[in-house]
């Protein structure tokens, strides 16, 4: 069993590294895997590259940060989804169930369309603030409504509707066609603006969130039969819920402010990972992270090349691919009664 876990982990990491290298070579400019390594090595001070500055720039300034951000976003969203589904005991829960993404959209739209903040606040910062406001509202609302897990989900759905309506209202009443197009692209999720700052920021938040979630792995297992059962197994339910909700909300907020609301990864990948790794969270969470990372790297590669030179928002592709994959996973794990 442990051997299988190690094989799964090693295989996953290997697959991720190969995916990163291969995905960077896809597209115009004819870049080979060896070029990717040499560019990375030269920028890390481990050698030199004979690529032209333009092609070096394509790898180092465009494709590498973009691909890395795809991996980080995929991993983060998938882990958030897995934690939410276990914590809220709801297979439909995803990172956006706490209203974080719709809050982020409203924040971003307020900055971009209405110029709130007078240029001092960037789109990402606006999105991040919007996400936190929305999450605070959901926490407050669910606490007022009784604090049980179904109330958290319902408060999240309510917040999601409210902020989506606000976003649509602002866009429809105040934005011109050009801005609307830009905002829409961001709302659907896009990694096209990825830079190294985004990568480092999201990676740091992801690392912290992963460590926290993994330290709660056994506690999450105990939620299988509900909160009372968890409490009877010695879990302090209220503290666990608060810590994990805050950590996942922060991670989601960071990811959404960098890449927009990329849907479906957080909903589908955990189910696929469960089919691979089983129900124990100590193994499930790392596998979910790796699966999410590999998945989004390839989906984003598809999104930027399929209709070349036109780019498709990555969120559209995740859903187009995700829905059939979701159905396939559910079909495979269906219960024969």
């Amino acid at each position: 069993m442990t051997v299988r876990a190690l094989a799964l982990g090693a295989g996953g990491v290997f697959l991720l590294v190969v995916s990163l290298a291969l995905a960077i070579t896809v597209g115009p400019a004819d870049i080979r895997v060896a070029d990717v390594w040499s560019v990375a090595a030269s920028h890390l001070g481990l050698g030199s590259t004979d690529l032209t500055p333009i092609r070096d720039g394509i790898v180092w300034q465009l494709r590498l940060p973009r691909t890395l951000l795809a991996a980080v976003c995929g991993a983060g969203l998938a882990v958030c989804g897995a934690v939410m589904q276990s914590l809220l005991r709801n297979p439909l829960a995803d990172p956006f169930v706490l209203g974080v993404s719709s809050g982020a959209s409203t924040g971003a739209v307020l900055v971009v369309v209405l110029g709130v903040g007078g240029g001092a606040v960037s789109l990402s910062a606006g999105a991040f603030l919007g996400a936190l406001v929305s999450f605070a509202l959901v926490l407050l609302l669910s606490h007022t409504l009784g604090g049980t897990t179904d109330r958290v989900v319902l408060a999240g759905v309510a917040a999601m509707q409210l902020f989506s309506a606000l976003t649509s209202f602002v866009v429809l009443t105040s934005a011109d066609a050009e801005t609307t197009r830009g905002v829409l692209f961001w709302l659907l999720g896009s990694l096209s603006g990825a830079g190294w700052t985004d990568v480092w920021l999201c990676l740091a938040v992801l690392a912290v969130a992963l460590v926290v979630c993994l330290s709660y792995a056994r506690t999450l297992d105990a939620f299988a039969f509900g909160q009372d059962a968890a409490a009877a197994l010695g879990v302090s339910v209220a503290r666990t819920r608060l810590v994990l909700l805050c950590v996942t909300a922060l991670l989601t907020a960071a990811l959404v402010s960098s890449a927009g609301a990329i849907g479906f990864v957080g909903l589908v990948l955990p189910h696929a990972a469960r089919a691979l790794a089983g129900p124990g969270h100590a193994r499930l969470l790392p596998v979910t992270a790796l699966a999410g990372a590999v998945f989004l790297v390839w989906v984003d590669t598809l999104a930027r090349t399929a209709l070349d030179p036109q780019e498709v928002p990555v969120g559209v592709v995740t859903s187009l691919i995700g829905v059939p994959a979701f159905v396939a996973v559910l079909y495979r794990t269906r219960r024969v009664r």
Partner: protein, 270 residues
Amino acid sequence: MSRVRTRAGEPVEVAGLRADRVSRRADGRLILDGVVLAPQTGSTVGVLGPNGSGKSTLLRLLAGLLTPTAGVVTLDGTPLGDLPRRTVARRLAVVEQQADTQVELTVVDVVRLGRVPHRRAWTPGTADDERAVRAALERTGLADRAGQPWHTLSGGERQRVQIARALAQEPRELLLDEPTNHLDIHHQLDLLALVTGLPVTTVVALHDLNLAAMYCDRVVVLSAGRVVASGDPGDVLTEELIAEVYGVRAAVSREGPERRPHVRFLGTLA
């Protein structure tokens, strides 16, 4: 120091789980009113009473899942509220009326949950953990079904797995809230025989008076949150008490070697 007085005034040892004049008020309504419960070590105590009499609330108070509004539940003399939840969970296990999950678990996965209070984060399971899980599976006769998926089990088998999970906690006290609901008669008898044969102190809420009479060393009868009778099932389960508490006409006979009471219901009281 290690003695408390019951309402009747006689001192008792405080070893094990004790409820001392516990009350619970919710939404201005008194659900439990000054209940005293002091199960003898290793015995099986049945908690009886009609729907809404406070059986489940009493069990939740005993498990530390609810806090009493008055009175105190103690474990070896220490109030439950002063003990870390993990410490309580290593001493005391709970089996609910009906447990279900959306997660795809096997029998052994569920039983392993019983080791959660014994394990620390970031550490793999120890040999002790595996030994406790194996022992719990053996004891409940599930050793050859460890790999079976939870969702393919019948209601009786699921309760058996939950008892195995509770045993994997290696508790000294076991609390069961109407564990035989939804089970057929074979599984009801089977489950209670298993539970009463365990070397732990057991408090079990039951609906069925005859099951209580067959398997409990003592019974406590609740009505509207108060204890109206407690003691040996043979002394407690009388036609008068059943009429008063349940509003039901019954004939109680005492046959068989142990002279345990048998209740035959005749109809409701007009």
